[in-house]
């Protein structure tokens, strides 16, 4: 899992561009399967049908620019039926009808194409929603009655507060909290992660289960926390389907701009007719409508909603569910990222980096003792010590079967091994080991404190190792900064995004990691409550803040942040407070989300620029011809020629 994560990042870095990076990353982790993908086969047929359905004036009226085109199409259709409808036309009626018919035809397809763009964008979300819906089916739930017996009811009859029992092989009927039992659950339906997840009560993160996932082993008693139709998957379906889609503030602003442009051109074109009549160059209604349609920004008008929907879709393909388009857009405007150190900036686990001998011992001796103390340690830290010790040519010189492991406890803050020859080797927090050594009659040298300080200054965690009353040295456990993060923070800085790291570590350690990762600011010895203070402080300076979180105590901060991304492994409270949920529970994704949001804003800006620039060009392509058609331009050039000749003759 960890190596998988690391190998994915460099690719995200080079192409932080939605779908491309996803497809390239999928073959590095073959076990990864992203959110259930529906077949995109019928997507285009469906979109073509939708494009015609959307010609309904009730739909078109929502898009001012395209509604003008819609009305224009109706009018040109009328003049196709009768070219003389609005006034007698001098030209041959049959030819005039052909021209008007052609204009009607082209305008009609302009509308259809614009609707098609929106339909394709929506269709991708709908296909995803269908795939999700297929994972959710009515199941039989075993409801726990007060007298302890169970009753089989349909999962749709479950209410918040009910308790249900699920056994291996069952579908979990609703969202809930585990109250009893330990079991592994397959959550691939929503996360795409095929490895099962362990669920147990009492823990903040591991006790929440999602309806529609499958329990693989053992049994659980679950307290239902959502009413039917309001569970996580239901909300997800509603979101990806775009049922709750409303215009974002930026879209509204752009709509107003486009409407003003449209209105100005409508007035201009409406007054062209009397002017043209005044200069004895009457134009036809169809030509005027063509001019109007060419002038108004139809390109961006037709693509505006598609861009917004596609942005949400890109986020969904990233396995992140956004509660609104507003949230996706806000990602692009973010000024400050608040990041947890552990799991986001550094790998979750610290790894042994170096042995520092004290009291005249050699590195090999320290390695030997550290290895002996770690053979029973199954934690990633312990394993990394074993690997490092073996690199230092240490080997286990006793029968592990005869030795007994001593587990780490929060009270002793040490772990180790009781060797077959009666000796006790320990490793642990420096002061805990000091106490152990003193209790065995040993003395603590100042060398140990020096080593301790050296490691702290390097940003690491020191672990002392000892055998009975003799301290051998210190293991330097290093926080590993995720690969490629420094470059990404540099990128962010160039884009004007500030990063703040939050950590529970002491000032020295935090500053070292901060420097190594290249974050702009850090807060050491932070409590979860500090998060919300940091966010408030930044917001009071007019900045938009994004953060990630998973615990219940993160919920207020998630709600306060402009963009709060909850981990799917997190608690229900966190998920409800956030405006995005990351199904892969990968906090580093926040950086990618900023990229996607910025990309959305840039795309919209670029296409608006393009569309308006186009209008200028179209104007110069049409206006001369209208004047020319009425003989105005040739007559001017003629008179110029006459003038020339006259001056020549003179």
């Amino acid at each position: 899992m960890l190596t998988d994560d690391i190998s994915r990042y460099p690719e995200f870095m080079q192409t932080p561009q939605g779908s491309n990076s996803l497809s390239s990353s999928s073959h590095t982790g073959a076990s990864r399967r992203h959110t259930p993908k529906a077949s995109m086969g019928g997507l285009y047929q469906r979109a073509i049908r939708e494009a015609f359905v959307k010609l309904n004036p009730r739909t078109e009226v929502k898009n001012p620019v395209m509604f003008i085109v819609w009305v224009g199409t109706i009018v040109t259709f009328l003049v196709t039926l009768d070219p003389n409808l609005f006034g007698t036309v001098q030209a041959d009626p049959a030819q005039q009808r052909l021209l008007n018919g052609l204009i009607t035809f082209i305008l009609f397809f302009t509308l259809v194409f614009a609707n098609f763009a929106e339909a394709v964008a929506e269709g991708r979300g709908k296909a995803q929603a269908d795939a999700l819906r297929s994972t959710r089916s009515d199941t039989i739930a075993r409801k726990l009655l007060p007298n302890g017996s169970t009753q089989e009811i349909s999962s749709t009859e479950l209410r918040r507060g009910d308790q249900v029992k699920v056994v291996a092989g069952d579908m979990i009927p609703a969202d809930g909290e585990v109250v009893k039992g330990v079991a592994s659950v397959d959550e691939s339906a929503i996360t795409g992660e095929s490895a099962p997840v362990l669920k147990q009560p009492g823990t903040d993160i591991m006790s929440s289960v999602t309806g529609g996932t499958r329990i693989l082993s053992d049994e659980l008693i679950i307290n239902v926390t959502s009413d039917p139709g309001q569970g996580f998957i239901d909300r997800m379906i509603a979101l990806v389907e775009g049922a709750e889609r409303s215009k974002t503030p930026n879209e509204i602003a752009l709509t107003v701009l486009l409407t003003v442009l449209t209105l100005v051109f409508l007035i201009v074109v409406a007054t062209v007719s009397p002017l043209a009549n005044y200069v004895q160059a009457p134009t036809t209604i169809a030509i005027l409508i063509s001019l109007l349609v060419a002038l108004i920004p139809t390109t961006i008008g037709g693509l505006l909603s598609a861009i917004g929907i596609a942005g949400m879709d890109r986020v969904a393909q990233f396995n992140v569910i956004a509660t609104s388009g507003r949230a996706v857009e806000a990602c692009g405007d973010i000024n400050t990222l608040v990041l947890d150190k552990t799991g986001t900036i550094t790998l979750g686990n610290r790894l042994a980096d170096q042995f520092i001998p004290v009291n005249g011992h050699t590195v090999e001796e320290v390695a030997q003792i550290a290895l002996a103390a770690s053979v029973f340690d199954e934690t990633p830290e312990g394993k990394s010590i074993v690997i490092l010790a073996e690199k230092n040519r240490a080997s286990v010189n006793f029968k592990t079967a005869d030795a007994t492991g001593v587990e780490f406890t929060a009270r002793t803050r040490m772990s180790g091994t009781d060797l077959p020859n009666g000796k006790e080797v320990r490793k642990g927090a420096v002061d805990a080991v000091k106490g152990f050594v003193r209790s065995r009659g040993g003395v603590v040298s100042t060398q140990l404190d020096e080593a301790y300080e050296r490691v702290s200054r390097l940003g690491g965690t020191p672990l002392a190792v000892c055998q009975d009353s003799e301290i051998y040295g210190v293991i330097y456990l290093k926080d590993i900064v995720k690969a490629g993060l420094r470059e990404r923070f540099d990128q962010l800085r160039r884009m004007g995004v500030k990063t703040i790291m939050l950590t529970g570590d002491n000032q020295i350690t935090a500053s070292v990691i901060a420097r190594e990762a290249g974050v702009d600011d850090f807060i050491a010895e932070a409590t979860p409550e500090d998060k919300i203070d940091v966010i408030r402080r930044e917001q009071s300076e007019g900045k938009l803040v994004a953060m990630t979180g998973d615990g219940t105590n993160d919920a207020p901060a998630l709600a306060q942040a402009n963009v709060g991304v909850a981990m799917n492994s997190g608690t229900q409270a966190a998920k409800e407070a956030a405006n995005m949920v990351d199904l892969d529970s990968d906090p580093t994704k926040l950086i990618d989300l900023v990229t996607i949001g910025k990309q959305l804003l840039i795309t919209r800006g670029a296409l608006t620029t393009f569309s308006i620039a186009n209008d200028i060009a179209k104007y110069f392509a049409i206006i001369p011809t209208i004047l020319q058609q009425q003989g105005l331009v040739p007559s001017i050039s003629c008179s110029l020629k006459v003038l020339d000749r006259q001056s020549f003759q003179r």
Partner: protein, 72 residues
């Protein structure tokens, strides 16, 4: 622009106007290529590509459509 006739000019402009929408659908759905630049650099770059491109492209496209369509 030396187009065949006024009528052909209007039809060409409208055809361009209609076809540019589906032509830009892939760009709208995928998003423009993202580069980590400062806001000013981005603005300059995009105005150059999409602004200048947006002024020039229609002239070329309308001319080509004008040549392609059969009637005068």
């Amino acid at each position: 622009m030396q187009l065949k006739s006024p009528r052909s000019a209007i039809i060409s402009a409208l055809i361009y106007n209609a076809l540019i929408i589906p032509a830009l659908i892939p760009l709208a759905l995928k998003g423009v290529q993202f580069r980590p630049l400062t806001a000013n650099q981005l603005l300059r770059r995009n105005i150059l590509i999409f602004g200048l491109g947006g002024v020039i492209a229609p002239f070329i496209a309308i001319k080509i459509i004008d040549i392609l369509i059969p009637f005068a």
